[in-house]
Amino acid sequence: MPARREKDLSDLEKLLAALPPRPTTLDRDHLLFRAGQASMRRSWIWPFVAVTMSAATGCLAMFLFLRPAPEPIVQIVQVQVPAPAPPVTPEPGPATQPPAPLHAYGTPSAMSYWQIQQQALLFGVENLPSPVTQSDGEPERRAPRTPDMSTGARPKMVEQFSPFLFGVP
């Protein structure tokens, strides 16, 4: 019995030994890569970002090359021209810088001191518009109740302006 077994084993060994080695089709590295790839979720974010950025870069490059030529910068420099010299002996001084226009200080709707003074002298201070009642910045022009001539009204308005309006004193 043991001799027979030994013989069978020997035959098996012979058979095995007769088998020729064949190259395997299994790539171990590829297998591991595929295993890792399979373990991850497929995402399109990075490809999308990459494509978008590429497109944006392309557009900007087009704008850069196709934009019109810049306008020339025109800088106006004001130079004071001296007043023309009169033909007589005294030399005119250099033209003085005109003062800042008064309207630079206020809006047309705001009442200047002049206007307030006129109203106060004509109608009395009790008929001046109250600033706190203005909601839209427009001065309240309330109809005067009773003019107060005693506090400084100018009774000669027509006379004052007549030289300018009518050309008569």
Binding site: A83, P147, D148
Partner: protein, 493 residues
Amino acid sequence: MPLRHTISGAVVTGLAILATAAAQSPSYTPGKSKPAPSAEAPKRPKARVVRLTLHPAAAPTPALEYQLLPELRDLKPGNAALLYQRAQNVEWWVPYVRRGHLENMGDLLDMPLREMPRAKVELLWEALREMDLAARREYCDWEMTPRLRDEGYALLVPDVHQFRNFGQMLAMRARLDLLDGRLDDAVAHLQTGFALSRHLNEGPTVVNALVSMAVGHMMVDQVEDLVQLDKAPNLYWALADLPRPFVNLRRPLQGEKVTVAGLFPEIRAALKDPNHPPIAVQTINSYLKNLHYVNRNVTLGDLRLMFAMTSARAFPSAKKYLLDKGFTVERIAAMPVTQVSLMYSLAKFDEIYDETYKWHNLPYWQARPGIIKARQQFFEQRKEQADAMFLPSFLMPALDNVVFGRARLERRLAMLQMVEAVRLQAAADGRLPQRLEDIRDVPVPTDPITGKAFEYTWSDGQAVLYAPPPEGEPASDRSAVRYELRLANGNKN
């Protein structure tokens, strides 16, 4: 152009008609309608009539236990203007005004004290607190003069006339004190009002002075109510202690000159210096624009045209004036015609302004003839030299009326002091004085407008204190005042 002239002329004429009609209207009273209508006594001269029912009261001890201005010991360092501006906080005022409280206030103040519906009174206590603090600061500097110098008539002063609302608020608070019988509080709160009036007077404009007077009148109205209350302290010495004149016009009237000078700085410099170089035409044009900005009754184009015409017409007299002032013919020839004309017109403005201004600090009865004469001369010069007078015509404020407005406040204070003298003497004698000479314990004040003693008569238990109009002026409710005094106990002695 003719259409513009027609429209402008119509507007100005309308204003003049309105002003003339208003001048003839007798219905105005500065503080309230409490004075009885004078129509009840047609034979009497027309006057503002105030009827007071008095309780005799001796002077308190110490004499100045009650004062109408904060005393020096109550003042704290600091600028009152900052606190007054804090009191203008729009978060407080805008809702207050929108609810109609401010408009109601004027009507409520016009009512007799006892008839005023107290429930309708709303006050801004936060603002009042700021005013109380401001009134007790050592000084008040509005810092307006430099601005006025730079910006002239274009300066925006929305805050100044707003202080009239402060005066109303303070007057109303004093009224509530009087209604509740809190006389000490009433006097303390009146101090705030009188101090506000004085502080407003520190501003360098005529509007400041006018608002100052208006607030002063409001406080005097409350004093008239106060002195009628039972147990009201005698305020003779408190009134005598007030600064006189209560409103000082020096700074406001000088401020107007600063404003005008700010319109033409180079022209004024040229006037002072015969060697000043000619002024460039564009500088003069900018002055014209400024002139147009402050007064838009005419268009800039019209103004330029009229200015050129008036300058040409005024040139001969302007040249003569400058020659008299030491300018050489060559210098004058080197100047633009418009400069020569402007220099002359500005010199005329200075001259005319000072002719009125110089009188302001004299007693009114002394100043009045001089002021009237100055105004007449002004009108005559305008007729004779209309072209040279265009700047005075444009810019000259009615100083005579401002000075008279101040005198009216002075008169009210003096008359109240007189009323207190009557109460004081009645406490000593047990009856109203029957003649002015019967008031022996204290001096009686004179009328600041006439310079004479007030007219004092007594009959049937009623004393009448009368302040006549200034000489040459018709009696009206503005120019004459009549106090009718009775004792509360009905004693006809």
